[in-house]
Point group: C2
Chain length 353, copies 2
């Protein structure tokens, strides 16, 4: 019996300050259709999919607010048709957006939409917000103000099961074929376990481990990654880079953390970029990819524009690593890990006498 | 002022069941001299440096015991001259060995030897022991019996400061040039912070993070890594590999975890293999390397025999990452990490109704 799901990542080319949300959603619909035409059962879209990467700008509250979504995406006039189409195609979707809660809090959020239930099954709010609360003093610097515009996510790294993807034919999914009882689902290894992270989270092994400890089989990660950004690249001032060098290095770093964390957690990883030159000035890397539990890249985008990639992911491959070298129960030694939760920053040993 | 230290990794070619410990130490002395001739201030030797990788064998207690060291390496007849020579050359050394304590416990251990104090500054006992307690049922299988022959390390992941390496000239170190007071040392960024892990530990991000949270600037990792080993490779039975494919994959995995964990912790990594064909049958990978805090390989061995590599490591490079994207104090969110210390194995979400 096949335990394979066909997964797609839909990379978006640049959005701009002048881009209309309706036009972005039209592009996303085209990518959704393309993914469905390949038989994809799930499509991942990027972080902050509907807008330009606005945390690079210093914005007044009035300028900021239009970048946020304020209601239910499934019924919002701009996005309702997108999810209805996903339902019609029987394709699950995950995407990122700036969330404004009724209480006025802002989060960098991803949701998982299930076509078979036509509902948002799970929501993740980005925990590792990069950058600074305050704008950089240099007026020419590229800011990274996620810590100013968003609060750290308050929903944890929470894995969840999704129906109607596994244990069915690789034809477009049809909820009438989903087994009904838990024992039936379990026998078919139905209800695969997914987890979401966003962008900078992928550089933090804690995020991956928390999801893997819940049995996550596929981690989804949308991102917007600046090719050149000293804060992000950790670039030494002693070794200035050209823009091309910095972009190449950012792509290397991105793949390094995706591949290694997939391997060290024996999990599939799917990542989707918003890529290309935004607002005429800001280069975002591509490199959207689908990676297997050994860290091998199964598919990767070739452009920095709108582009769909797909791969067949046999969820049984997760089990091999987790029953051998990465059998957590047999090998992890939690008594030695106290510092990881016991302290946030660095505490150095004292100097020698 | 230079905060650069010249670090060497001394890869060892194979040892055999028939190898005499004296001959192995002679080879190590030659590598030590070679490293010193390059101006190295520190040399890392492999895990279980003196012996063949005996945990692959099912051994009686009588057969097992000769692989262990039973006394103080600095005064043992076999190894005393090695450390005296390191002292004479003013080169610090780290190496791995099978430790039998006076109480009869067995550990897979590394020590850090300081030439300026002629003492063992720090000891690490391997925490992530791979493999199984019991031999595999298949008589043709390659066993991995570290869990049988060793107990999990009980000294934690403990970073330590070493004197006489930083803030001095790059000539062979001379303890008389080491500043005496803490403030002098601090001003010169003296007393660099080191940490040790062993082999399989490098695949566990928890090990790296515990060391990085103590400000570790260089992580040392000796290893013996079988090219083909289903337990280690987590190989899917659906995708059998040739021996050559398996060895290539093992090298890829090794570098992936070394480079990514250096990057995600903004730390230098130095790793030294015991490599080559042991006992005529068991192929160990090479790939001894020195890696910078961006994950870039500065030096790597080209053979699977005795071979020294050196690199200049500017410890200031650690600071850039840790003050930017990997500024733990600013970015880590320990409130979201409870599962990492709260549970050992996987706990899956329930099946859907």
């Amino acid at each position: 019996m096949a335990h394979t799901i066909k997964i797609a990542a839909a990379q978006l080319g640049p959005n701009h300050l002048t881009s209309r949300r309706e036009d972005v959603v039209d592009r996303m619909l085209r990518l959704l259709h393309e993914a469905a035409s390949y038989g994809a059962q799930f499509v991942l879209f990027p972080e902050l999919a509907f807008v330009t990467f606005f945390p690079r700008y210093v914005l007044t509250p009035e300028e900021l607010e239009p970048f946020f979504e304020h209601g239910d995406l499934l019924t919002s006039p701009t996005t309702a048709a997108f999810f209805s189409e996903a339902r019609r195609l029987s394709v699950d979707v995950s995407l990122g957006f700036a969330e404004r809660t009724p209480e006025g809090e802002g989060f960098n959020t991803s949701i998982y939409y299930s076509a078979s239930t036509h509902s948002i099954l799970s929501k993740y709010r980005k925990i590792h917000l990069p950058g600074f609360v305050d704008p950089l003093p240099d007026p020419n610097a590229i800011n990274q103000l996620e810590k100013k515009y968003f609060q750290p996510g308050n929903l944890g790294f929470t894995a969840f099961r999704a129906p109607a993807l596994v244990g069915i034919t690789t034809e477009h999914s049809d909820s009438t074929k989903v087994p009904r009882s838990s024992s039936e689902r379990e026998a078919m290894r139905g209800d695969p376990i997914f987890g979401m992270i966003i962008c900078n989270d992928r550089r933090w092994p804690e995020a991956w481990r928390c999801l893997a400890l819940q049995g996550t089989e596929v981690v989804f990660c949308g991102y917007n990654t600046q090719g050149y950004c000293p804060e992000l690249a950790g670039t030494s001032p002693h070794k200035p880079q050209t823009k091309a060098e910095a972009e190449a290095a950012a792509l290397v770093d991105h793949l390094l953390v995706m591949q290694s964390n997939c391997y060290m957690n024996s999990v599939f990883g799917v990542c989707a970029a918003k890529a290309g030159l935004e607002d005429g000035n800001f280069d975002l890397i591509g490199g959207s990819s689908i990676i297997d539990p050994k860290g091998k890249i199964l598919a990767m985008t070739e452009t920095r524009g709108d582009e769909v990639i797909v791969a067949d992911c046999d969820l049984d491959e997760v089990k091999y690593g987790r029953s051998a070298i990465f059998d957590f129960d047999r090998h992890r030694r939690v008594e030695a890990y106290a510092l990881i939760t016991g302290q946030t920053g660095v505490v150095e040993p004292p100097f020698l006498r």
